[in-house]
């Protein structure tokens, strides 16, 4: 059993070093980012202050996509090179990505209400994010649906690769569907053309979210390694 955990042990040491830095960078970006987003960035002439939700909504949507791709990449590494840490990284990323997806959906709703008077609009980005949410749920459900964790891991890995190939196709078809059904009004949740003044807080928030992800995924990987150790100990007790 020992050789299985040799890698993870080294990882845990490395992770403990990286985590505080990731957290620090996240706070450094989040602070000014939120300040610009909430206070000093320009107000939209049409939407007023509600455009500020964009600074959370747009980076969340980006992170939702980013996490899915990261999950698929980790799954590919796990499948091809049988790399155990990559497998754990994929498992750890999924709920974080799902969380960002949910955040994007909720902030989308909060943004939509003042703008169009409804809690939900079928705009292209929001709809794509909704489908992405289901892809995340499917991954997590499949992973947990097996009594043998290794089986769940491999199945979910294959699913994530199938999903990542489909994501651009889904995006394309949803964009297409959206323009077809709303030829007159262009429902765009980007807000107006991005001013340079809007760009800085947006990027700060995006970077902050990225480092939040890095910090959180490292913590979750360490947790999962611990959980595996506990399971191994139980196994040993049972067969002794």
């Amino acid at each position: 059993m020992f050789h299985r955990f040799a890698n993870p042990t080294r990882f845990q040491k490395l992770s403990k070093v990286i985590e505080p830095w990731a957290l620090a960078i996240m706070v450094l970006c989040l602070g000014p980012g939120l300040y610009y987003a909430l206070f000093s960035s320009p107000v939209d002439y049409q939407q007023g202050h509600t455009v500020r939700i964009m600074y959370i909504h747009v980076p969340s949507a980006w992170m939702a996509m980013f996490c899915y791709v990261a999950m698929a990449l980790a799954s590919a590494v796990a499948l091809i090179w049988k790399h155990q840490l990559a497998d754990i990284a994929a498992k750890a990323t999924a709920p974080i990505g799902a969380g960002f997806t949910l955040l994007a959906l909720v902030t989308g709703a909060l943004w939509g209400k003042p703008m169009w008077g409804t809690w939900w609009v079928w705009d292209a980005r929001l709809t794509s994010v909704l489908v992405l949410f289901f892809l995340y749920l499917g991954y997590m459900a499949l992973r947990d649906a097996f009594d043998d964790p290794a089986r769940g891991a491999k199945s979910a890995a294959i699913l994530s690769l199938v999903g990542v190939v489909n994501v651009p196709i889904i995006k394309f078809s949803v964009d297409w569907w959206n323009t077809l059904h709303q030829p007159a009004s262009v429902v765009r949740m980007d807000g107006p053309a991005i001013h340079p003044e809007m760009l800085l807080p947006l990027i700060l928030m995006a970077v902050a979210f990225k480092f939040y992800y890095i910090w959180l995924v490292l913590v979750r990987i360490r947790q999962e390694i611990m959980a595996q150790r506990v399971r191994a100990l139980h196994q040993r007790e049972a067969s002794a």
Binding site: L135, F146, W176
Partner: protein, 221 residues
């Protein structure tokens, strides 16, 4: 070649002898569509407006329901692992099963669709394109569904899980399938949709057998 034909013929033989499976799929298809007039009212103009979408969604769900049996029975009685051990490449075996699934599920749906088009008051100009779009789309549903069916073998609550996994992946096919019918009914060109549906079908044909075979190998290991 001989081996693939033997596998294909066994699949068809079993499907024919257990033909109530196909019947149930068609029955579900019809009932699902029939529910809509009850739900939204029988006003002809509106039924015609939502008809293509309703028929397509019902076809998706009907195909979904029968997806599980592609591998489940063979998995449970030990045939699937033996199929993985034949000299025939597993990818070809998978394709044989997908083809058989389509012949016993997709094809009946296509045949019944004009009847449902009548019930949903879709004008006759739209029937041809409805059939054609289903003909191009349903094989893709079988191909993609096969990946899901392979992935859930041995999982708890496999049937429900399969729907969650596969229905989001069906969305592009749904969009382009219904889109093509709507286009024709509005007197517009539909070549782009057909090309897209055809492209998605060819892409799935090339890629999904590998994923499905990988999932099956994983399940029988």
């Amino acid at each position: 070649m001989n081996g693939v034909l033997a596998i294909m013929s066994r699949e068809l033989r079993l499907a024919v002898r257990q033909s109530s499976d196909s019947m149930m799929v068609i029955a579900f298809f019809v009932i699902a569509v029939v529910l809509f007039p009850f739900g939204v009212g029988p006003e002809p103009q509106m039924l015609a407006r939502i008809g293509p979408g309703v028929i397509w969604v019902a076809a998706l769900l009907a195909a979904m329901l029968s997806m599980e049996r592609m591998f489940q029975a063979d998995y449970e009685d030990g045939s699937l692992e033996l199929l993985a051990l034949t000299p025939v490449p597993l990818e070809l075996t998978v394709l044989a099963k997908v083809l058989s699934h389509w012949l016993t599920t997709g094809l009946p749906l296509i045949i019944v669709s004009p009847l449902l088009a009548i019930m949903m008051n879709i004008p006759p100009e739209g029937w041809g394109i409805l059939i054609l779009s289903l003909a191009l789309g349903t094989p893709t549903l079988s191909l993609i569904g096969a990946v899901g069916a392979g992935l859930i073998l041995g999982a708890r609550r496999g049937g429900v899980l399969l729907s969650l996994l596969v229905l989001p992946l069906f969305i592009p096919i749904l969009i382009f399938g219904v889109g093509s019918v709507d286009m024709v009914l509005n007197g517009l060109e539909t070549k782009a949709h057909m090309l897209l549906l055809g492209g998605i079908f060819l892409g799935s044909l090339a890629l999904t057998p590998w994923a499905t075979a990988a999932a099956v190998r994983e399940a029988v290991a």
